[in-house]
């Protein structure tokens, strides 16, 4: 929701980034204030996931230009784990499997790490167990997932739910959900969307990367951005998503070209 007096959470200016020497992000501008929900849409390969990973600090990507402020501070001065502890959360498009590491141990470690950072008390294994089961109920997840290895052998949709479970545990300031809706069945989509909505407050913000208008029926965005070739080429309200659905991305691109030609 847009609040008139809310603070700027994320300010991206002219962000450029390369991977293996190939430029993927070619000057991104984006401002996210607390309380807001932003949707980023765009063709396959336009750089949405790259943008998300660069914000989270993935080491494979090199930032070659621009600035990013998170709560007024230079984000690039923080190591990836420090960004996470500061409240930047990325729900991965393809969550990786970590065989041998029990999900409950992993969840507890990440939870306690972030709690410590916030000056709060850690939970011991028993307390945490109660706490995490409560959160899992909200996402209608079976507690059996606690005893399995992190994401190992999880179905596509189960992995996505495990991501949202982590978001629910960590209560981030800025949550970036990279195609969390892809691979979810209709019921799961509703459950996950409900979860995300419940977590939304005046003090945090969400960036949703998605290909489907359907998700935006559940989580209503304040802004919709269209990304192409490493840039945000159009920004609008929630109706932009509907227009995209009926006209396709070509419509935005040709509009842009026309504007550039004029």
């Amino acid at each position: 929701m847009i609040y008139p007096d809310s603070k700027s959470l994320l300010e991206v200016r002219g962000l450029r980034a390369t991977v293996n020497g190939i430029e993927i992000l070619k000057g991104i501008d984006l401002t996210v204030r607390s309380g807001e929900v932003h949707a980023i849409m765009g063709t396959n390969g336009s750089g949405k996931s790259t943008f998300a990973k660069v914000l989270a600090g993935h080491t494979a990507y090199e930032v070659t230009g621009g600035t990013v402020l998170f709560e007024g501070k230079n984000l690039f001065e923080l190591a990836p784990e420090e960004r996470a502890r500061a409240g930047v959360f990325l729900a991965f498009q393809y969550p990786i499997e970590i065989p041998g590491v029990a999900n409950n141990q992993f969840l507890r470690l990440t939870y306690n790490t972030v709690q410590t950072q916030r000056g709060k008390d850690e939970l011991d294994p028993l307390e945490f167990d109660d706490f995490v089961r409560e959160k899992m109920k909200m996402l209608e997840m079976s507690p059996d997932f606690l005893d399995r290895s992190v994401n190992a052998g999880f179905s596509g949709g189960e992995k996505k739910r495990n991501e949202i479970l982590q978001m629910a545990l960590l209560e981030p300031r800025l949550a970036i959900l990279d195609e969390t809706d892809s691979g979810l069945d209709i019921d799961a989509l509703r459950i996950v969307a409900n979860g995300v909505n419940q977590l939304a407050t005046r003090d945090n913000a969400t960036i949703l990367v998605t290909h489907y208008q359907r998700l935006l029926n559940y989580i209503v965005p304040d802004y919709v951005h269209v990304m192409e070739s490493g840039r945000i080429i159009k920004t609008g309200g929630k109706q932009l998503a509907l227009e995209l659905e009926s006209h396709g991305y070509d419509w935005v691109s040709s509009e842009q070209r026309a504007a550039a030609g004029a």
Binding site: A60, P80, F92, G100, V101, T110
Partner: protein, 478 residues
């Protein structure tokens, strides 16, 4: 587990310091005279001198094995001193004499300052008082008929037992290093659990090489009579020297009917520096004979140290229904090389063996699993299950698996599974994105990977092993 042992296994990693101590060190070189000198110093009976000389004669005709997947310069056996015994020790004068690297290590482990100050003294005591550790147990153990002490002592107090079993599992001419050991071994542990006795506590020996250019050739012999059982722990460290030192031990285990021997090792010899200079050459022969029916021999090893490890703790499953187990974690970093594994020789009927090997390579290291499963024609109904997993940390290291399977009985079932995985950038990024830094992430992944082995270790050893691994791999992710 006793408090003494707890202190001992809770010692921090890398005791890379040389202890200022006066030692009685023999001149370098190996000849018949050297062997006579060792034997005389120990005041040995004639039969043992003969055992040694026979081994020496045989050794002269043998060649160093070339098949292990390791590289090292030729060892000059004349440049080694074959006898070094500490004279009564002096205390370290001040904290300044302790290697600063060692102090830093304590810091990493979070050992408080006052404890650290105490530790410099305690560590030395523990290391050089291994005999007194044994003595503490001795009285209590003797009450139930257990003999536990140094093998040199047992040669005098229980010559018949030593004579009856020495060299029966690892024969004098078994292999190059074992034969050398048979000729020059200086000390080691002897442990005898009589019929029907379950050893009331874990037994342990802690080995340390202190003198530069000395070799260490210890000899351990453990016998569990009918229905007896024992859990034995072995730990080891060495100071850091720029030269390589040779460690060629022999361990023999004998389990009679229904006996059970569990042997656990945390091997933490000095591994050389980041550039591969220095470190221990660890060429060890360990073998257990499951001689009686329903007997069981179980090896658990956590190998983190040594420049080169060449070691195959094995089980000869002679008794019907006997069981052999091998659980191993071998970690190599920097320029370390490990060629380790096991041999399971099935002779008796319905014999069973389990092999679980976890190899972790980091840095420029090379880690090989080499294992033999042999099912003899007599071993009807034998079964083996092997699982060999390798994990690579970074791009410069390598891992290899060499399984040898020889089945000569149709009723046997042999299963082998292997996997290789890698701690990749994306896994570490996933942890980082959840607030967990590189070192902690690696240790969590590694502990998960090694779980099946660690749960075989006595608890305190498992804690120690977990800590060691964390230190070992520190800085290997970047």
């Amino acid at each position: 587990m006793s408090a003494v042992l707890q202190n001992l296994v809770n010692q921090p990693y890398k005791h890379g310091f040389v202890t200022e101590i006066e030692s009685d060190v023999a001149p370098k070189g190996l000849s018949e005279n050297t062997i006579r000198m060792i034997s005389a110093k120990k005041n040995e009976p004639e039969w043992l001198l003969e055992f040694r000389l026979k081994a020496y004669q045989q050794w002269l005709t043998m060649e160093e094995p070339q098949w292990p997947n390791v590289k090292y310069p030729k060892i000059d056996f004349q440049a080694i001193s074959y006898y070094s015994a500490p004279k009564p020790r002096k205390k370290l004068g001040s904290m300044d004499e302790v290697d600063p690297e060692l102090l830093r290590t304590f810091e990493k482990l979070g050992v408080p300052m006052h404890e650290r100050a105490a530790l410099a003294g305690v560590a030395v005591d523990v290391i050089f008082d291994s005999v007194s550790v044994a003595t503490t147990y001795k009285q209590k153990l003797a009450e139930v008929g257990i003999i536990f002490g140094s093998i040199s002592e047992a040669v005098h107090t229980h010559p018949d037992l030593v004579k009856q079993y020495l060299g029966t599992v690892v024969p004098v001419g078994d292999n190059f290093y074992a034969t050398l050991n048979s000729a020059v071994f200086t000390d080691g542990s002897f442990c005898f659990i009589p019929k029907g006795v379950k050893c009331p506590m874990d037994l342990s020996t802690y080995f340390r090489i202190n003198t530069e250019a000395s070799g260490q050739f210890e000899r351990t012999l453990i016998i569990a009579e009918e229905g007896a059982s024992v859990s034995y722990l072995e730990g080891c460290t060495a100071p850091r020297f720029d030269t390589n030192q040779l460690h060629a031990a022999v361990v023999e285990l004998v389990a009679l009917d229904n006996a059970d021997i569990k042997y656990s090792t945390v091997q933490n010899w000095y591994a050389g520096d980041e550039n591969g200079v220095g470190g221990i050459f660890n060429f060890v022969t360990k073998r257990g004979l499951a001689k009686g029916v329903n007997s069981r021999i179980s090896w658990t090893q956590v190998e983190t140290g040594s420049a080169i490890t060449w070691k195959y703790p094995s089980c000869v499953l002679q008794g019907d229904n006997s069981v052999g187990e091998f659980y191993s974690v071998a970690v190599t970093n920097h320029h370390q090389q490990a060629d380790t594994g096991t041999k399971m020789i099935h002779i008796g009927k319905n014999t069973r063996s389990t092999i679980v090997s976890k190899g972790i390579s980091a840095g420029h290291s090379n880690n090989s699993y080499r294992g033999l499963v042999r099912i003899a024609p007599t071993a009807a109904g034998a079964r083996n299950y092997s699982q060999c997993d390798s994990m690579l940390v970074g791009d410069q290291c390598s891992a290899s698996t060499f399984p040898y399977i020889q089945v000569r009985n149709n009723s046997a079932i042999v299963e082998h599974e292997a996997s290789t995985s890698k701690i990749g950038e994306d896994q570490l990024f996933y942890f980082a994105q959840r607030g967990i830094g590189g070192e902690e992430a690696v240790s969590m992944i590694i502990n998960g990977f090694c779980k099946d082995v660690f749960q075989q270790l006595p608890m305190e050893f498992a804690v120690e092993a977990t800590k060691l691994l964390g230190l070992k791999l520190e800085g290997s992710v970047g």
